[in-house]
Amino acid sequence: MPERAPLSLQVPEPEWRPGDTPDYSHVNFPPAGSVDRPPVDANPRDIRDLAYTIIRVLNREGQAVGPWAGTPTDDELLTGLRHMMTLRAFDARMLQAQRQGKTSFYMQHLGEEAISCAFRTALSPGDMNFPTYRQAGLLIAGGYPIKDMMCQVYSNEGDPLKGRQLPVMYSSRKDGFFSISGNLGTQYIQAVGWAMASAISNDTKIAAAWIGDGSTAENDFHAALVFASTYKAPVVLNIVNNQWAISTFQGIARGGSGTFASRGHGFGIPSLRVDGNDYLAVRGVASWAIERARRNLGPTLVEYVTYRVGGHSTSDDPSAYRLKTESDAWPLGDPILRLKAHLIVGGVWSEERHKQAEAEVRDTVIAAQREAEALGTLHSGGHPSARDMFEDVYATMPPHLIRQRHDAGI
């Protein structure tokens, strides 16, 4: 037998750890406008390159360029800007409220606002999102009252979910926002099932599935791709690659594949990669994928390249595992600043109006917060009743639960 070199285990590492200096100069993002936009019924085989590039619309000068720019009106973009600003202000207030002990937990979107805010505008009434905890922009851009969101975060008397769920695990059927699960990934295959149900029913509604980069390693991701591929389900399969899964960099989930988007290729699913910090690019890609689903052409996989600027949640301090300066160095910029710059370049916005809008948004959020807090916060004021704890386990309460509620003395 030949002499053999011993094997060794290869464990991927991020490029930088605390103590290093981040340097993205070797990362070569394709310039805005440089990626072709194929027809939505293109053969998946012919557009595999879309999984290895990055679709971008806003260039450094703030101009919208190339085939993915679409034709949004100024009003649409101004509204989009306001959605993102609202989400950011909302996050800031709720983070603070958590620190003040008004609730147990919070998760913010900092840096990722464009994705859910822009995606939402491409959907139609009746479509259903199966979100993770980092797509509250779907609610905000859909007009869901932020006061109700806050009541959920506070688990107070006004909480539509009766205090049962951890903060940010919203649910709103009528707003096309499926109940968030704390178990990562589970909603991905459910979205496919929902879309299949729409197709079985000869309906026109489509579904959108959401997952983080880290969670693509979960079982449900695979089941979703298998089922979506086999039954050509009318679903958009979104992957939000924000570079981190708590303390774990995306290379651990991505392994040897160049991109998460390429996971779709083994299933014959058209797969696109898009600049997630570019409101216009997200909007363009979302429309393309949603149109494919709507025309019964089947699923589309979309990877949003973005950066989680904040901690994973309020339980997390990212400086223990990554560079504080990494987010500043992140080359795709800030989604709000980029859309703002575009609107200023287009002459429909200005620094002054932005400042003013910031103040307005802040006032709106604070006003909502005041209303919400009037209904209680986690440890004080109005709260859901203990009786609520026993409801909705089943449609009709079975004898053993009636007995237990009685034992509980409530």
């Binding site: 259903m128 199966f130 539509p160 979910l161 009766k162 049962r164 769920q165 695990m169 649910s171 709103s172 059927r173 499926f178 109940s179 699960s181 178990n183 589970t186 991905y188 295959i189 459910q190 979205a191 496919v192 099932g193 929902w194 879309a195 299949m196 149900a197 729409s198 197709a199 079985i200 029913s201 579904a207 079982n219 449900d220 695979h222 089941a223 979703a224 298998v226 089922f227 086999t230 909705d392 386990v393 089943y394 449609a395 079975p398 004898p399 053993h400």
Partner: protein
């Protein structure tokens, strides 16, 4: 009334449910064109088309996860897991999702879903075709768990399960598919057509979930059983001449505690029988409830006759299976206890 096997009764229940409500869809591994490895969905694809009854990839997670999404949309999926032993890949979707959806969304989203699966041993199926995982469902708030023991019940309970607004785990004792089985494997097989409970009414009927049936009235002791073990218990009663009252629970959650407690209060003695491994089996819950609710009537400790705490072996099938002799011994023991 026509006779049916349990397979036919289950097929018939799904046929009727699909006929009555176009929201009912049926799918799983090999259930479409072929009609299921046990033939429980035979003919449904031909009758209702490929979009209401179809084959799926071999992904139990996919089957249940997609069904949860469909149920949330408003359909009523009735899916098959080929053997209960293969439900584990779907367990997360069952426990974390199906069972909790109504609760966590405060009723906005619901999950009217039936998961059918053949359970139990007695067919030389070895450890991956013989398991009885009912206790893994009864521990989960939000699920209902049903175990029919005969064609007539299977049909009525399955229709009720499909119509139920919540997720129902429907466990089909596969050893009963073609006839009752009392554990006397050395004897010829009795077909359902020679059994009264093989008579199945035509057309629609539903049996309410949560009601036990007394299969044999008796004064000496109470047997709590379900599925195949009902026949084993009946046989033990007959062979020992002990006047056992045999209760077929039919639904484990919600449990018909009234019927159970009334019987044990009358007899003062109780034997619990199931095929699943003993430790933390559903028999533990039954014993815990009985001692709690009938403490002052009990004249002997509740005895459990169960599968052993080992994986289900192949060659030693009849050493593992809690057959009539073991049940009879337990009868004698609870009677001898002073």
């Amino acid at each position: 009334m026509p006779h049916m096997t349990m397979v036919q009764a289950i097929q018939n229940a799904q046929d009727i449910a699909m006929e009555r409500d176009e929201k009912v869809v049926v799918f799983g591994e090999d259930v479409g064109y072929f009609g299921g490895v046990f033939r429980c969905t035979a003919g449904l694809q031909r009758k209702y088309g490929k979009t209401r009854c179809f084959d799926t990839p071999i992904s139990e997670l996919g089957i249940v996860g997609a069904a949860v999404g469909m149920a949330a949309y408003g359909l009523r999926p009735c899916v098959e897991i080929q053997f209960a032993d293969y439900m584990y890949p779907a367990y997360d979707q069952i426990v974390s999702e199906a069972a909790r959806l109504r609760y966590r969304s405060a009723g906005q989203f619901t999950c009217p879903l039936v998961i059918r699966m053949p359970t139990g041993g007695g067919i030389f199926g070895g450890q991956t075709h013989s398991q009885s995982p009912e206790a893994l469902f009864t521990h989960v708030a939000g699920l209902k768990t049903v175990v029919p023991s005969n064609p007539a019940d299977a049909k009525g309970l399955l229709i009720a399960a499909i119509e139920d607004p919540d997720p129902v785990i429907f466990l089909e004792p596969k050893r009963l598919y073609n006839g009752p089985f009392d554990g006397h494997h050395e004897r010829p097989i009795t077909p359902w057509k020679n059994h009264q409970l093989g008579e199945v009414a035509e057309g629609f009927y539903a049996l309410p979930l949560g009601q036990a049936a007394i299969r044999r009235e008796g004064a000496a002791l109470t047997v709590l059983a379900y599925g195949t073990m009902v026949y084993v218990a009946l046989s033990a009663a007959e062979e020992t001449g002990i006047d056992a009252e045999v209760i077929d629970l039919r639904t484990l959650v919600p449990l018909d505690l009234d019927t159970v407690a009334a019987s044990v209060r009358k007899t003062g003695r109780c034997v619990v029988v199931h095929e699943a491994t003993r430790t933390s089996g559903f028999g533990a819950e039954l014993a815990a409830l009985v001692q709690r609710h009938c403490f002052y009537s009990l004249e002997a400790p509740v005895r459990r006759v169960t599968g052993w705490d080992t994986p289900y072996p192949h060659a030693q099938e009849w050493d593992y299976f809690p057959g009539p002799e073991r049940v009879a011994r337990a009868f004698r023991e609870v009677l001898e206890a002073e």
